[in-house]
C-alpha cells in the first residue's frame, strides 16, 4: 500500500472530508490506483499492469533529480523505462519506518551523489526479490533465471512472467542484503540522455505546485512580517478591514507577523494591504548596507580571524616578497527570487496536523509542522509538492511554521498561505554578504610565492544552525578554498597560502543560495588570478595551467573549455575572452566567456563554453540543462543581483528593482560534460561560480577595467 495515500485517507476521513479531493495531484491519483499494489521494497512498487512506481525521497525543483534517481533505481531493477512513474514518500511514514528512505534533504547538489548507492541497491534488491519469486514459483534455481525490461525468463524451460505478476509474491520475501551493483560501464538507462519524467504536465498547466493546491473548504491567507528583521508586531486594527469582501479573520503570527485569512487569496491580500499595522522595528531600525560595509572593511585588516586553509607561512613569505599585489573585492546580499513565492497549506485540529508544502527538505519541514502544531509527531504528516524553484530558499521552513500557526486559528479548516512577491523579497534568506582582500607575493624570479586571502563577512551557519559553529568557524565559508579533499578544494598549488575569515554578521538573515559560498569565493580567486597573470605579464590560461600542473582533474576541464572556445586564437572582432575554473559540490568546472562591451558601456555575453567533470553523469542532457541554468542564475547575480538595506529593511520589492536575466541576454552555452569516473559530483550548482569571474575577466580584456564589487549594474563601462 502506498504510505502517503494511506495516511491521507486515514487522516482526512477523521475530518469527515472523505475521499473526495477537489484537486488533481497526479501523484495522489496514481497512488489511489496503487492501493492494491504491494510494494516489493521501500523503493519499488509494481502494479499488476507492470507499471513501476519508484519512490523518490528528494524533492524535484527543476534540477532533474526525480528523473535521475529513477534512472538509477530502474537501471538496477532492470525494468521497462516506458512504464516507470514516481511518487514521494512522506516524512511521517519515513519516521515510522526507521528512515527507510534516508535523508530527504535536497540541497548542496547532493540529491544524486549522496543517495545513489542506496537507491541503486534498492532497485537491485527489488530485482533479486522478483527473480527469486519467479524461481520459487517455477521451482527452478534462481541462477537459471534472468530479467530484462520487467520480464523474468527461464531459458531452460522457455517460461517467462512479468514483474507485475510476481510483485505480490516478491514483496513477501526477505530483502536481500548482499547486493552487487552494476559497473557504470554496463549501464543501459543511467548515463543516457533520457527525457525527464515530469515534463508533460509542465506544458499543459496540469502540474500542481504548492500555490495551486485546492482542498475542500480551504481558505487563503496573506501575510506581512515586520519589514525590519528582528522587529516585532505591536498591533493592528482588524476592525478596519473585517467588513471587506471575503475576510474571515486577522491573526497574529508568531511575534512579528500578521496574516489575513479570507475566502480567496486576492481578498486576503487586498485586505492585508489596507490593514493598519504597528511595528516595533527594534534595534536595527536604522541599519544600512553602507554602515555594514564599513564593518566588513575593518574586518579585512583585523588581527584575529578563523583559519580555513594554510600551507607554509604566507604572512612571513609576503614580508619577504620582491613584489606584492593587492586587491579588495565585495559581494552583496541577494534574494533567491524563486518564480513561485513561498507558500504552504496546513490543516490543524486539536488531534492532528497535516501540511502540503513545496519544500527542499521534507524532514525539517515536517519537524517545523510538529513544533508549530503543538502535537506529537505521530499526529502530524507532510505531503510534498513539486517546487516552483528552490535554489536553497525552500530548505528553510519559516513559511511552514507560519502556515501551521495560521491554520491553528481556524481548527478543522485547511488554510493556504501564499507570500506576495513583495513579502518574498523582504523576507528572504539572503546570499551572505562578504568582502575579500587578497595579497599575493612574487619572488625575485617573478614567480608567485605566497597568497593571503582574507574574507570578512557573514556566516550562513550563524543564521541557520549556530550550534554547528565550532571555535568560531563556519566551515562552509571556505567552500572552494579548502585543502585537498573530495568536496570543494582550492586547486592551485602555492608554496605559502593562508585563507582566513573574519566573521561579521549583519541583522539580515543568510541562507543557502544556489552555489552558496563557492560563488563569491571563486569570483575572488579567479578574478585575482587573472589580475596576477596580467601583473606578471603571463597569459591567464598559462598561469592557471602552471598552478594546476599537479592536479589533473581541474586542469582537464580548464583545458577542455579553453580549447573548445579557441583560447589563444583570434576572437571575432570586438569579442574578448575570460576564463574561470573551480571545484565545488564534488565536481570540477571551468568556463570561457566571450563578451563584447560597446562604446556606450553595454555588456553583451555572446557565448560561454563550459566544461564539467562530475565523476559520473547520470543524465547528460539534464546536466547540460543545469549548466545553462547555472549561467542564467550566475549572470543574473553578476549583472544585477543586489539586495540593499536601508532603515533596517531590504529596499528591493519586485522584479523592477531586482532585475534578473531574461532570454534576450542569455548567451549561447556550449557544454562539455566529461565524467572521468570514480567519484560522484553534483551538477546543479558548481557552474554558477564560474559565470561571474569568466565574464568579469572578459570585461577586463575588453576594457582594461577591473570590476571588483558586484553587481555590474552599479558600474559604468562607458568608454571615455
Amino acid at each position: 500500500m502506498n504510505p502517503s495515500r494511506r495516511s491521507f485517507l486515514k487522516t482526512s476521513s477523521l475530518l469527515g472530508t472523505g475521499l473526495v479531493l477537489a484537486f488533481h495531484i497526479p501523484q495522489a491519483a496514481q497512488a489511489a490506483e496503487a492501493v492494491m499494489a504491494p510494494e516489493v521494497n521501500a523503493w519499488v512498487v509494481v502494479r499488476p499492469d507492470d507499471t513501476v512506481v519508484i519512490r523518490i525521497a528528494r524533492s524535484e525543483m527543476g534540477q532533474g533529480t526525480l528523473t535521475g534517481l529513477a534512472q538509477l533505481v530502474a537501471e538496477e531493477l532492470d525494468c521497462d523505462w516506458a512504464r516507470v512513474t514516481t511518487e514521494y514518500p512522506t516524512p511521517g511514514q519515513s519516521l515510522k519506518r526507521n528512515r527507510v528512505w534516508g535523508n530527504f534533504s535536497t540541497g548542496g547538489s547532493q540529491g544524486i551523489r549522496q543517495s545513489n548507492e542506496y537507491v541503486r541497491k534498492g532497485g537491485a534488491a527489488a530485482r533479486l526479490m522478483l527473480l527469486q519469486a519467479a524461481a520459487l514459483a517455477w521451482d527452478v534455481p534462481m541462477a537459471e533465471c534472468d530479467t530484462g525490461k520487467s520480464v523474468i525468463t527461464h531459458k531452460v524451460s522457455g517460461r517467462s512472467t512479468t514483474y507485475g505478476a510476481m510483485a505480490d509474491a516478491a514483496g513477501k520475501l526477505a530483502v536481500p542484503s548482499d547486493i552487487t551493483l552494476k559497473a557504470p560501464v554496463d549501464w543501459k538507462l543511467a548515463g543516457k540522455r533520457l527525457a525527464r519524467l515530469d515534463t508533460v504536465d509542465k506544458t499543459t498547466g496540469k502540474q500542481i505546485y504548492g500555490m495551486d493546491l485546492v482542498l475542500p473548504g480551504m481558505l487563503n491567507a496573506a501575510i506581512k512580517d515586520c519589514p525590519v528583521f528582528g522587529g516585532t508586531l505591536v498591533g493592528f486594527d482588524d476592525q478596519a478591514i473585517l467588513t471587506l469582501p471575503g475576510v474571515k479573520k486577522v491573526v497574529r503570527v508568531g511575534s512579528s507577523a500578521v496574516a489575513v485569512i479570507a475566502d480567496t487569496w486576492w481578498h486576503a491580500k487586498t485586505a492585508l494591504d489596507a490593514l493598519p499595522v504597528q511595528w516595533n522595528e527594534g534595534p536595527n531600525a536604522k541599519a544600512t548596507s553602507s554602515q555594514f560595509a564599513e564593518v566588513l572593511k575593518a574586518g579585512l585588516t583585523q588581527e584575529s580571524a578563523v583559519v580555513g586553509n594554510e600551507a607554509g607561512n604566507a604572512k612571513e613569505a609576503l614580508t619577504k616578497a620582491a613584489r606584492t599585489i593587492e586587491a579588495v573585492y565585495s559581494y552583496p546580499h541577494q534574494n533567491h527570487a524563486t518564480m513561485e513565492t513561498m507558500n504552504a497549506t496546513a490543516l490543524w485540529t486539536p488531534t492532528l496536523c497535516e501540511a502540503w508544502v513545496p519544500t527542499q527538505n521534507g524532514e525539517t519541514a515536517f519537524n517545523a509542522v510538529v513544533d508549530a502544531s503543538g502535537l506529537k509527531a505521530e499526529q502530524c504528516e507532510l505531503y510534498k509538492l513539486h517546487l516552483g524553484g528552490g535554489f536553497g530558499r525552500r530548505g528553510a521552513s519559516d513559511f511552514v511554521t507560519q502556515a501551521v500557526q495560521i491554520a491553528k486559528a481556524m481548527p478543522g479548516t485547511p488554510v493556504k498561505l501564499i507570500w506576495s512577491r513583495e513579502e518574498d523579497m523582504a523576507h528572504g534568506r539572503y546570499h551572505p554578504v562578504t568582502q575579500c582582500k587578497l595579497i599575493a607575493g612574487l619572488d625575485e624570479k617573478g614567480e608567485l610565492s605566497a597568497l593571503h586571502m582574507r574574507i570578512s563577512g557573514q556566516s550562513i551557519l550563524a543564521t541557520v544552525a549556530p550550534e554547528k559553529i565550532v571555535d568560531g568557524k563556519d566551515p562552509g565559508a571556505f567552500q572552494g578554498l579548502n585543502s585537498p579533499g573530495p568536496e570543494a578544494s582550492f586547486c592551485y598549488a602555492l608554496p605559502h597560502l593562508l585563507i582566513d575569515h573574519a566573521v561579521h554578521n549583519p541583522h539580515v538573515p543568510a541562507g543557502y543560495w544556489r552555489g552558496v559560498n563557492l560563488n563569491q569565493n571563486t569570483l575572488y580567486v579567479e578574478c585575482f588570478i587573472d589580475e596576477l597573470a596580467h601583473a606578471m605579464g603571463q597569459d591567464p590560461l598559462a598561469l592557471r595551467r602552471k598552478l594546476l600542473a599537479h592536479n589533473p582533474k581541474p586542469l582537464a576541464v580548464l583545458n577542455a573549455a579553453a580549447q573548445r572556445a579557441g583560447w589563444g586564437k583570434t576572437a571575432p572582432k570586438g569579442i574578448f575572452r575570460g576564463l574561470a575554473q573551480t571545484m565545488g559540490f564534488g565536481s570540477y568546472v571551468a568556463a570561457c566567456a566571450e563578451v563584447s562591451v560597446s562604446t556606450e558601456g553595454e555588456i553583451k555575453v555572446h557565448r560561454i563554453v563550459a566544461a564539467t567533470d562530475p565523476g559520473h553523469a547520470v543524465n547528460p542532457q539534464q546536466i547540460e540543462a543545469q549548466i545553462e541554468g547555472s549561467f542564467a542564475y550566475g549572470l543574473s547575480a553578476a549583472l544585477y543581483g543586489a539586495c540593499t538595506v536601508k532603515d533596517g529593511r531590504i529596499e528591493q520589492s519586485n522584479f523592477h528593482d531586482y532585475p534578473v536575466l531574461k532570454l534576450a541576454d542569455m548567451p549561447h552555452v556550449e557544454s562539455i560534460v566529461m565524467p572521468s569516473g570514480g567519484f560522484w559530483g553534483g551538477v546543479g550548482e558548481p557552474t554558477i561560480a564560474v559565470a561571474a569571474p569568466a565574464v568579469l575577466n572578459a570585461i577586463f580584456a575588453a576594457t582594461g577595467k577591473r570590476i571588483r564589487d558586484m553587481p555590474l549594474k552599479n558600474h559604468s563601462l562607458k568608454m571615455v
Binding site: M61, G62, Q63, G64, W81, A82, K192, R193, L194, A195, R196, D198, T199, V200, D201, K202, T203, T204, G205, I208, Y209, M211, D212, V214, P245, T264, W266, A337, T338, M339, E340, T341, H386, G388, G389, G390, F391, I418, S420, R421, Q621, Q622, E624, A625, E628, G629, F631, A632, Y633, N654, F655, H656, V660, L661, K662, L663, A664, M666, H668, V669
Partner: protein
C-alpha cells in the same frame, strides 16, 4: 455576476470589478495553470491570450475584459498537450521547475501565430518572461523547432520513452 468567455466556454464569475483577471482565472474558475509571479506584469508567468494577444493577466482588471473577449489559458491551448508548441516543449524537455512555462508557452504561441518563422531578434523581443531556472536557450530552440517543423534540429539528442529521439 460577470460574464467571461474562457477557453471557449461562457462562465459567470462573482468577483469585484477590480479583481485581476489572473485571480479570477485561478480562484473563481479553478484554472491554476496560469501562475502568479509578481503581480506587476514584470515576469509573464500569468500570460494568457485575450483575442489572440498575449496578455499579462495579473494587471488586467476583470472590468476591462469584455464578455465578448475570448480568453484562452494554458488549459485551453489543447485538451491533451497536443498543440505544436506544447509538443515542441515536451520534445526538447524545455521546463525545469516549470512554474514559468505556462506563460512562456502562451507567449511563444502568440509570437508564432503572428510570425510563422521568427528570427532570434523576434524571439528576444517577444519572450520577455522570466525563468529563474534558466530554460531560455531551450525556449528559443523550441520556438525555432515549431517554426521549422523539425523537433530534432536542436541537436539535443534526447531519448524518449517511446523510442524516438529529439
Amino acid at each position: 455576476m460577470t460574464q467571461l468567455n474562457v477557453n471557449n466556454a461562457l462562465r459567470s464569475v462573482d468577483a469585484e470589478a477590480d479583481t485581476p483577471l489572473l485571480w479570477v482565472i485561478r480562484e473563481q474558475l479553478g484554472l491554476t495553470g496560469t501562475k502568479y509571479g509578481c503581480g506587476m506584469a514584470l515576469c509573464g508567468a500569468c500570460t494568457v491570450h485575450i483575442d489572440g494577444v498575449a496578455t499579462r493577466s495579473c494587471v488586467r482588471p476583470l472590468s476591462s475584459v469584455a464578455a465578448s473577449a475570448k480568453v484562452v489559458t494554458i488549459e485551453g491551448l489543447s485538451a491533451d498537450g497536443s498543440h505544436p508548441v506544447q509538443k515542441a516543449w515536451a520534445a526538447l524537455d524545455v521546463p525545469q521547475c516549470g512554474f514559468c512555462q505556462s506563460g512562456m508557452i502562451m507567449a511563444a504561441t502568440a509570437l508564432l501565430r503572428e510570425k510563422h518563422h521568427p528570427t532570434d531578434a523576434d524571439i528576444d523581443a517577444a519572450m520577455t518572461n522570466i525563468c529563474r531556472c534558466g530554460s531560455y536557450n531551450r525556449v528559443r530552440a523550441a520556438i525555432h523547432a515549431v517554426a521549422s517543423g523539425s523537433l530534432s534540429g536542436a541537436g539535443l539528442k534526447i531519448q524518449h520513452a517511446d523510442g524516438s529521439s529529439t
